[in-house]
Each structure stands twice: as C-alpha cells, then as structure tokens.
C-alpha cells in the first residue's frame, strides 16, 4: 500500500500538490511551441486584465475625482490618439536613439572600467568603492558639469546617461569577476591563458551571467537618467519622451501622463525581453535550463 503511494509520488504529477509540484513542473514532456507561448502569455494577459480591472474599479468607486485619477476609458483613447501623433513618433525616435547610443557608450565604458578595476589591485583599491558612490549621484547633480563640458549638445545628455549607467555595468562586471570559481580560473591559467587571454577566454565568459545582470540594471539607470537628462535641454525643438513626460506633468494632463507611463512600461518590457533572451541563452548553454538538471 505504502509503496503504491510513493509510486504515485514519483510518477504522476497530478497527485503532487504545492511546492513539490513546482519543483517537478517543467520535467514534463516537452510541450509544443504553441503551448509554451500560451503558457508564457496567459499569466501576463491575466495580470494586465486584473490591473486594468482594479484601476477601473477604483475609478468607479469615486475615491478620487476623474480629473485626478482618470479611468481606463479616458486613458486608452488618449493613448490611441497619442500614438498617432507625429510628436509621439519623433519623440520616441529621438529618445530611442539617445537611449541606444547612450547605453552602448555606457556599456563600453562600464565594461572597460569594470575589467580594469577587477584585474588591477591598485586600481581596485583606488576606484572600486568610487563606483557605487558614483552610482548614487543623482542625475541633476551632473547637469551643471554636463553643460560645462558639452554645452547644450546631445553629448551633454549622453554624459548624464553614461554617468548613470556605466557604474552599474562596472559593478556587474566586478561582481561577476569576483565570483568566478577559483577552479576555473586555475584551469584557465593552467591551459595557458594568461593576462588578457585569461580574461577573454575564462573570466569574461564565467562572469557573463553577472555581467548581463549588471547590463540590465544599467539599462534601468540609463533610461531613468535619460528621462531626467532630456529635460536638461530641448535641442532645436526636438521633442522626446522625457520632455513629454515632464510637460504632461506640468500641464497636469493626467491622461497623457498615464499614456506616457504605459509607453515607458512597454519599452521596459521590450528591453526586459531582450535581456531575458540573452540570459536564457546563457542558461541554456550552461545547462541551467535543462529540465533534466
């Protein structure tokens, strides 16, 4: 009898409840692509539907005036209108380009800084703790310096973005390098990877997961710095998401503000999808996604 119970435990997931089921879930037969997609999608849709429902319920409850807290039925038409304006697309274009270039620069700077500090004890003692300190410096503190150095150019915005994101990337690199398993480091040295090659072939790939995590955090910093930096100066009446956000707030256009927040969330989701894909690729490579492990 007892043996029957255990047989069920190890062979039929149906009978297993709670967290045990979670542990075992995913050990099932490989589901089809469509089912996988559906499993990825329905919780998201449910979450969004739920969020909208709660929002609508709060609005209907009359807790706040619609003026202060507009409901979905006011925001979605505005969002629809918004995405059809030329300002939206040109603003999106400007912001996306700045985010792209700024983040790329920040990544390059952060990687170089991180690797330099990680590989050199003196640099590390000198600058290591400075990285976090720089990270905590709010963007507005950099504005005067940005203007001083780069005038009112796009570079001034980049400067703020890079100073916002690069420390985060560098910290990711440092963390990754610090946690490279000593055995792999020694194995690398032993098979003839010295100096730069050790970093290129052993330490960098071993630190890659932490670096990607750092990049993800860096992206968030870059984006937030950009939103602030775009207020620094509006060049030649070039509109941008950051400027639009600020003006929507200044003009108390709450519907538009929420529309822009939704836009930012969607862009954030896209960014996350990109990082998520990179992360999953690494985990698949390393055998961390393997359902048999």
């Amino acid at each position: 009898m007892a043996s029957d119970t255990i047989a069920a435990k190890t062979t039929e997931t149906g009978a297993i409840s709670g967290l045990d089921a979670l542990e075992i879930a995913g050990r099932e037969k490989e589901p089809s692509r469509a089912r996988k997609l559906w499993f990825q999608t329905w919780p998201k849709l449910t979450a969004i539907a739920l969020a909208i429902l709660i929002w609508q319920a709060v609005v209907w409850s009359g807790w706040k005036d619609p003026w202060a807290l507009p409901g979905p039925e006011a925001v979605f038409p505005d969002l629809w209108e918004y995405v059809q304006t030329e300002a939206f697309w040109s603003g999106l274009g400007t912001t996306a380009r700045r985010a792209g270039v700024g983040f790329a620069t920040a990544v390059a700077a952060g990687l170089v800084l991180g690797l330099a500090v990680a590989s050199n004890k003196i640099l590390r003692a000198a600058l290591g703790s400075m990285i976090t300190a720089l990270q905590t410096m709010p963007s507005i503190a950099w504005f005067p310096l940005a203007i001083l150095l780069f005038q009112l150019s796009e570079q001034a915005i980049f400067f703020v973005v890079v100073l916002g994101a690069a420390p985060s990337v560098a910290n990711g690199v440092l963390h990754g390098v610090d946690y490279v398993p000593p055995l792999l480091r020694r194995a690398g040295t032993n098979i003839g990877a010295r100096g730069f090659n050790l970093y290129r072939y052993v330490i960098a790939p071993a630190a890659l997961p932490a670096i990607v995590a750092g990049l993800k955090q860096g992206w968030a910093f870059a984006w937030r710095s950009l939103m602030a930096g775009e207020l620094l100066v509006v060049i030649a009446t070039k509109t941008s998401i950051g400027a639009q956000l600020q003006y929507a707030r200044e003009l108390s256009e709450t519907e538009r503000l929420i529309s822009i927040m939704i836009t930012i969330l969607v862009l954030g989701l896209l960014a996350d999808a990109a990082f998520g894909a990179a992360d999953r690729a690494i985990r698949r490579r390393w055998g961390l996604l393997d359902r048999n492990n």
Binding site: A87, I147, L231, V233, V234, A236, T237, Q244, L251
Partner: protein
C-alpha cells in the same frame, strides 16, 4: 539696424544661441521664434539657434558655460546669475513680460486672516513669488518661517505638483505664476490677491531678456538686432493676439506632443502684460523684500542693466524709451 541684419565687425557669420522656456510668460520669445521675427531682425549673417529649457538653473548654467549667449528668464535666476558672478556674467538688455502672478486659494478663504493655519504653496524657496508672498504675509501681520512653520505654512513645491496638491486638498492655496493661476482657478480656486495690485503702476517683471557679457562685448550689433526682435515680437503680440496665442499653443505642442489649450492661454493672457520695460525697480524692490524676510543677503545690482540697445530699438520703432536704473 532692422532688415540690414548684424554680424561681427569683419562681416563674418555669427551664431546667436538663444534660450527660453516653452511657456506662456515667455510668449515674446515663443512668438518671435515661431513667426521668424528674430530671424528677420538678425539678418542672414546671423544664425539663430534656439534652446528651450524647463527651468531657470539649467539656463543659467548654460549661460555660464558659454552654451548659450542670451536667454529669456525670470527675475530670480537673473539676480542669482548676477550675484554669483559678482556682477560680471550677465546683462539685462530688455524686458519681456509683467504680471501674471496671483495668490489663488480655496473658495472658503476670503481674507488674509483666513490663511492662518493653512498650507500655501510657492514655486521655490526664495524665488520671486516666494518672497512676494512672505513679504505680503509680513505686511498682513502673519508669520511664516523658512522651514514652513508660523501662522501660515509656506510649502515650496514644483508648480506642476501644486496643481495636484491643490486639487487633492493637501494645500489650500498657492502664490504662482501663469498658466498655473488660470489652472488653479479652473479647478475651483479663487484669486485672493493679484500681485499686480501690490505694485506701482500694476507692473513688475516676470520675464526679462539677458545676455552674457562676453557676447555683448563681442557682438553688440547682434545684441542690438536681438533687442529689436524682442521689441518687434512684443508689437506682434499686441497686434495679433489670436495668432500669437495659436502660435504658442502650436509651439508647445511641438515639444510636448500636445498643443496647449487655447482657452487656457486666452485666460492667462489677460493677466500678463507684454512690456519691453524690464522694470528694474520691481527687481530691486523684490530683492529688498527678500532681504527683509531674511531669505537673502543684499545684492549690489549695479551694472546689471544695459538698456541702451533697448532704448535705441524703441526709438527707431517710435515707442517711448525706458528709464535706465
């Protein structure tokens, strides 16, 4: 120097970098840019580059850093720029607008005495409106400390936020400039004090035009043309109200993605006077008030104003000249 345009002595091309805020109190600048009034006055030899700012500090930082040559700006940053550079960095070369500031309160507040125990917002500790409000309170026999204590609690906060907090009842009033006055009024507020009523001739500076001393020295003729543009722009504002308002709405729409409500502009328009007079006396008085309420040290305003170009422009436009302080 009107249609002939300006340039440096050698006649080579010059770039004038002009800053302003996409804002109703900067209507002279917005319309002047939108309607190419500056361009016409500056002529072909001068390239006009415009930069819009969101707030005064960035504009002053830009001016200090040689990132712009001239900017429309409020009196408060003007004084800061003057005092921080020990009178060297900037010159006021023209006025732009006056008025457009009021104390808006909840309808149940009818007098200064009713303000006791209330929270009233100002845009920023020590800025023009903040000083005006504190001085006014003092005159009314009410106290208000820098930190927000006293009979009336003065809450410095961003204007955008003031609209939210006024609506939600977190504050009971605000001493703010346009278009926030109109916006609070539309939200059920009532104008308790129109700041114009507190000033001689109902005039006090809200926006003026400043230029960096370096640029003024290097390109006096460009500055002259710029001032001429300012004068022409104000003329345009007076003569074509509807078109001007439309231009402002469009211009703001270009940057923010949503044109500013025309009714709101029209409403605010009535409280603002577009004048080329920078009204130096109001700036001086405001500063005295600030000293009196203990917010600043005295500042020597000597040499801040250089209105010779303005008077020249006014003369050639056939308008009355203004007094140099």
């Amino acid at each position: 120097g009107s249609a002939g345009g300006a340039g440096d002595e050698t006649g080579g091309p010059v770039t004038l970098r002009l800053g302003y805020f996409p804002n109703i109190t900067h209507a002279s600048a917005v319309v002047g840019v939108e309607k190419n009034i500056f361009k016409d006055k500056l002529g072909t030899n001068v390239t006009l580059e415009t930069k819009t700012f969101n707030a005064g500090p960035a504009a002053i930082e830009a001016l200090f850093s040689d990132a712009i040559d001239a900017t429309y700006i409020g009196p408060n940053p003007t004084v800061n720029a003057h005092s921080k550079s020990k009178g060297e960095a900037v010159r006021v070369i023209s006025g732009s607008a006056s008025g457009g500031v009021a104390l808006v309160v909840k309808p149940d507040i009818n007098s200064a005495a009713d303000l006791k125990g209330k929270k009233i917002a100002t845009p920023q500790l020590g800025n023009t409106q903040d000083v005006a409000f504190r001085y006014w309170l003092k005159e009314q026999g009410l106290t208000a400390t820098k930190e927000g204590g006293g009979d009336v609690s003065v809450v410095p906060q961003e204007n955008a936020q003031t609209v939210e907090t006024f609506h939600s009842g977190a504050i009971q009033g605000a001493w703010v400039p346009e278009p926030f006055v109109s916006r609070l009024v539309n939200d059920g507020g009532k104008v308790l004090i129109d700041e114009r009523d507190l000033w001689p001739d109902n005039k006090f500076v809200i926006t003026n035009l400043i230029v960096s001393t370096k640029f003024l020295k290097a390109h006096p003729d460009v500055v002259k043309a710029l001032v001429a543009g300012q004068v022409a722009s104000n003329d345009y504002l007076h003569e074509n109200e509807a078109e001007s308002q439309q231009a402002i709405s469009d211009h703001i729409g270009k940057i923010t993605g949503k044109p500013l409500d025309l009714d709101l502009i029209a409403q605010a328009w009535k409280t603002i006077e577009f004048t080329n007079d920078p009204i130096p006396s109001s700036l001086k008085t405001g500063l005295d008030h600030a000293v009196e309420v203990g917010l600043t040290e005295p500042v020597d305003l000597n040499g801040l104003y250089d209105l010779s170009y303005l008077n020249e422009a006014l003369k050639s436009a056939g308008e009355p000249e203004v007094a140099q302080p």
